[in-house]
Amino acid sequence: MKSNHRMDRRTCLKGIGASLALPFLDTMAWAETGKSKTVKPPVRLGFMYMPHGVIMEQFWPKSPESFLTSPPPALASLRPVLNQCLMMKGISGVPIAPFNGAPHALELSTWLTAALPDANQRDVIKIAISADQIAANFIGGFTALPSLELATMPQTHKENQDGLNEGYYSHCSFRSATQAVPAEINPRNVLNRLFGKSNKTGSSGKADPLDRQMLDLVLGGAKDLRRKLPRDDQHKLDEYLDSVRSVERRIAAIEYRQKEAALEAAGVSVSKRLASDSPPIDIKIPEGEKRSEYMEVMCDLNVLAFQTDTTRVSTYIGSTPNGVSYPELGFNDEHHSQTHHNNEADKLGKVAAITAFNIAQFARMVQKMHQLKEGDGTLLDNCIMMWGSGLEDGNVHARENLPFILAGKGGGSLNTGRFLTGVKGNQGDLLTTLLACAGIPLDRPVGIATKQIREMTTFL
């Protein structure tokens, strides 16, 4: 975390109020009140990451029976919501041969792609679209932002493992095989991005009414340019076209909100929120550099984005596989160096503390979601939140039983409150099943997947 993100003591969203929380396309089914009393809110999908694996003895529950009654130490913070959680042992990561020398470059980049980079073009990004971006392609079209990508640290790690592009170290989201999606690390910017507010001095703070049409003309020009370029350049320009279209859509969403706010102000009720739904949560942007406070606000922003249906897909790279320390925990050792613990008690303890710390941030987030009313239940009921790591055991870089925790019922699609052992499946199977739970039709499985994992769901 860099020091230039020091913020005002607090920023409250009070006053943005109910007009926030609206999907802008009228084709949307959710919240079309008046037609039916039991409208089903959309399923949202969130992923939160910690690198380097866990201390297995402290992470995996002793047995399916003891999962709820005496969970292992790493899960202590999740106790109040364990009934909303699902854990499975037996999901293997992507085997990384021929990149055996790149365990850390690949732990994050294989996490949501369940795929390996192209071994013949290692120095560029060439992997596969990630599960979150597949979801964004389907359910992202209904919201102002197709997806939200967050991270705690800048994604600038320089290290060459097995000749792989540095981007593989610090990115989990890939919009296409060649397009890594950068994450936002500044909470203030996330807030602005979610709600189109500008805090810049001298700025009108409003979307320029002609911006969308101006961008349309620019896009037309870009297509002319594209026609004249060699093929590789064309592919690069396609990323530009794609991203500008997304900006146009976001502007449309903001315009829609502004119109609605105007109507509300004029006394015309257009709100589609249920009166019983919880109001949007407050965001407090911390002043200091405390990791827990920083992660808390990033998690809160994720909650707010989901609660207000500003996006339905998110990733949060809570920590990155390089040079990260946790001074807040009372020691300065780097996470990675401690994970090669060789079973030394001191290092085991530190890794366990780092893991518990990360899970506690996740636990805070899902508990907050559980406290927010939405429709007939809670926000968490309509979410699938996954916390996980790309390695099982950082000491030996094992990835046989990937550690992860699912929280939320996914609109009733996930069968929670359980710990399943002996599950046979891989990372791709897991992601494929999660996308199915979010109602996303797939024409092909994610990465190395061969099937869906029936035991997880209520419908298979």
Binding site: K200, L210, L217, V218, L229, R231, E334
Partner: protein
């Protein structure tokens, strides 16, 4: 060197024992670079047929062929496409394994003779001559965050920090040349901010700012569209860094019309047009000028693209008037002109971008600002100290470039740059005071050069102690250009040791336990001595005679080849003597930075040629930079035809 394709962790680890020796194989043919490339190619083909093909068929293909592909390796296609760039990487790996006697495995029935091994290695060493002459791709490149901010500054005089909210990124080799919705949103919002800053919204009469940035007020009765087109032409010429095509001006005029149709006054419509310029791909990317690229093959960069590539390389910003003028007149590709421009750009203060972009990354100092240090143990590692360490390295790097010194001076110099904050690290707090950084002559031979430089010593340490292993890897990889493989997976624990005994050992004795294990020993016997040779410098670069356990520092050691040293100053001398390796390393790293990609295939031949030229001049820095900026891959690009373009139209 890549070792990823080997079948198992154990075999991989065993393969490492010869890895250092292989690193010199690229030099085998260096003396012959002046000979005709075609003759070299013929030679290489013969060496391949005589030394490699029979070797592979006899000893390798049984396990690594079409039928069995152990470790996923199949040599069959490689035999018929020996010069292919991607396969070349495999060959290097194969050479490493064969040289190390790791392959064929000890239990194989047939073992090659030493001369067969040598013939194989000779053949592989010449494979680079089988590659096609190829400058590599230069796909339209998005400006980096830094370049974008500087360019906005040069265009409109705004502070470059206007770009601060864009995601931070890796630059040079490894640069993610992609664009996401997040970035596009930010480009639009920054464009708005730029225009808000330079064109304050005001009254009805045109302001001086409007006239300054958007042209004078058209005469009454003048055709406003004609006037607007002139403004578009001038804005786009600067912002696109090349003359805009008529069709590109049509697009901008369309935006002007959009504004007018919606009732905007003349200058407001121009403002919208200026915003369109700032979110156009021609501004955000370095794009070629040509309307129709030659189909297929290799093209020379047009002069404007070359001007941009050069100015972004040396200045991290857009070309200035002189460079643009030369491009307009079609003079820039003339080698003499290009050389003199490189010299001119290097003299300009803007060339400090070379350190911020390349030097800091090379020396690993980019991470110094955010690195964690144990605050109780090293309270002095505050922001001022980190800044001073960074500045020391920057000014040192800068002095070598500006004074056109040899690359050897990076390792062996007798001066540095200090201020009162940094001086105590050198024990010079009585001589150097105050906050200003200044050049200081050093009398301690252990200092002077990057090996004894606090910023480097600190970034290669752990938060609370030194790491001889990290320092060893750093010296090998960043200074000498050797590739150190990562630790093998499934590293066995060092647990069998008596814990009490271990606790009493010095760091050196403990680290040496690595070498009692065969799997670790191969690498660590090379890494550790170098790292321990620097143990007299603590984790923030202060001199010490005893380590944290109170044990005396034993800095003595031996490099591969039997060269012994007893203190940092000896290590410095030994490494400085390897001027060819130092120069080749820096040449390769800077070329990769300049090209924004990894080097491969034909690039190796390019580097051979560069080394020949640089050696004659004593490996001086300005020569190195000039030769790279005028090199074939920097001034040319490979293009793929665009036949499929209409089919893939979105």
């Amino acid at each position: 060197m890549r070792i990823s394709e080997l079948p198992s962790g154990l075999q991989r680890a065993k393969a490492l024992c010869g890895f250092m020796l292989i690193l010199t194989w690229t030099g085998l043919a260096e003396s012959r670079v002046n000979r005709d490339f075609a003759a070299l190619k013929a030679d290489a083909q013969k060496s391949f047929q005589d030394g490699v093909t029979p070797f592979v068929k006899t000893y390798c293909i049984g396990c690594h062929g079409q039928d069995r592909q152990k470790g996923g390796i199949n040599f069959q296609p490689a035999l018929s496409n020996a010069g292919d760039a991607t396969i070349a990487k495999r060959w290097k790996q194969a050479a490493a394994n064969v040289k190390a006697h790791d392959m064929p495995p000890a239990n194989a029935k047939k073992q090659p003779t030493d001369s067969e091994r040598q013939a194989f290695l000779n053949g592989i060493a010449q494979i680079k001559f089988l590659s096609q002459k190829d400058p590599g791709l230069f796909v339209i490149r998005r400006l980096t965050k830094v370049e974008y901010g500087n360019t906005l500054h040069d265009l409109f005089g705004v502070d470059p920090t206007i770009a601060r909210e864009l995601p931070d990124e890796v630059i040079g080799e490894g640069y993610l040349n992609t664009l996401s919705p997040l970035q596009s949103e930010q480009y639009l919002s920054i464009a708005n901010e730029v225009l808000d800053r330079i064109l304050p919204r005001g009254g009805a009469t045109p302001s001086s700012a409007q006239r300054r940035w958007l042209g004078s007020v058209p005469r009454s009765g003048a055709d406003l569209r004609v006037a607007a087109r002139t403004v578009a032409g001038s804005l786009a010429r600067k912002a696109y860094r090349r003359p805009p095509a008529e069709a590109e001006l049509d697009v901008l005029l369309g935006v002007f019309d959009l504004g007018r149709t919606n009732g905007l006054p003349y200058y407001e419509a121009l403002r919208l047009m200026a915003k369109a310029v700032l979110v156009s791909p021609q501004f955000l990317f370095i794009t070629p000028q040509g309307e129709g690229q030659p189909v297929g093959g290799i093209v020379r960069l047009d002069d404007h693209q070359l001007a941009s590539r050069l100015s972004y390389l040396l200045w991290s910003t857009m070309p200035d008037a002189e460079l643009s003028g030369l491009a307009d007149r079609g003079k820039l590709h003339d080698p003499a002109v290009l050389r003199s421009q490189v010299k001119r750009l290097l003299k300009d203060p803007r060339s400090r971008a070379l350190f911020d972009g390349f030097g800091a990354q090379w020396l690993g100092l980019a991470s110094l600002e955010s690195k964690t240090f144990d605050a109780a143990k090293f309270p002095q590692m505050n922001a001022e100290m980190r800044w001073a360490m960074y500045e020391e390295a920057r000014l040192f790097f800068d002095s070598i470039v500006r004074e056109n010194r040899s690359v050897v001076r990076f390792v062996d110099s007798d001066y540095t740059f200090l201020n009162g904050t940094l001086a105590p690290i050198y024990g010079l707090e009585n001589t150097v005071t105050g906050s200003r950084m200044r050049r200081v002559k050093l009398t301690d031979p252990n200092r002077g050069g990057v090996l004894g430089m606090p910023g480097v010593l600190a970034t290669t340490s752990l938060p609370n102690r030194t790491s001889p292993v990290k320092r060893g890897v750093w010296v090998l990889e960043q200074v000498l250009g050797e590739k150190v493989p990562p630790p093998p997976p499934n590293v066995p624990a060092l647990e069998k040791q008596d814990q009490k005994t271990v606790a009493q050992l010095t760091l050196r004795q403990r680290t040496e336990l690595h070498r009692t294990d065969a799997v670790c020993a191969n690498c660590h016997k090379i890494l550790d001595p170098i790292g321990f040779g620097l143990e007299n410098f603590d984790a923030i670069g202060r001199w010490r005679d005893r380590d944290d356990t109170g044990g005396a520092i034993e800095a003595a050691g031996e490099l591969p080849g039997g060269k012994r040293f007893s203190a940092p100053k000896d290590l410095k001398t030994l490494i400085a003597a390897r001027s060819d390796d130092l120069a080749r390393n820096l040449t390769e790293k800077f070329l990769a930075y300049a090209l924004c990609r990894q080097l491969e295939g034909y690039d190796e031949v390019v580097v051979d040629h560069l080394m020949e030229t640089l050696a004659k001049d004593g490996y001086r820095l300005q020569t190195l930079i000039t030769e790279i900026a005028t090199s074939y891959p920097f001034t040319h690009r490979r293009v793929q035809d665009s036949i499929a373009s209409t089919l893939h139209e979105k």
